[in-house]
Amino acid sequence: MSENIDPNKVWPTGLTAPEAEEIHRHLIQGTQIFGFIAVLAHLFAYIYSPWLK
């Protein structure tokens, strides 16, 4: 499907397809970092608090 999209076409949001993909890449990376910190925080909470005990 992506090969059908013209990479130079400016869409209603003012972005081209490569620009949209770049924004999405950063959003995914941010989500992964947030998720990693959250998993770490929950691990510490599980170890050091009465949670689930």
């Binding site: 992506s2 949001t13 972005l15 397809a17 949209a20 993909e21 009465p50």
Partner: protein
């Protein structure tokens, strides 16, 4: 990155704050409900205050010296 093309139809200035706001609101709601609907989270966050209060409570001092004689000291036997 199969969903990257969403930003062709949704403005990132709208979609990204909406996404981050949804994450913030939902995680706050979950933790707030844990704080208000469980007994152990507030107790844990309170720390050792209750234990220390329980230890400190029995320390009572007499307001005045006793006026009535409760028991007399045993008499010393002479040999």
């Amino acid at each position: 990155m199969i969903y990257g093309k969403i930003w062709l139809v949704v403005k990132p200035t709208v979609g990204i704050p909406l996404f981050l706001g949804a994450v913030a609101v939902s995680s706050f709601a979950v933790h707030y409900m844990l704080l208000t609907h469980t007994t152990w989270v507030p107790k844990f966050l309170e720390g050792g205050a209750q234990k220390m209060a329980a230890v400190a409570a029995p320390e009572t001092t007499a307001a005045a010296p006793p006026t009535a004689l409760v028991a007399a000291a045993p008499a010393i036997k002479s040999q």
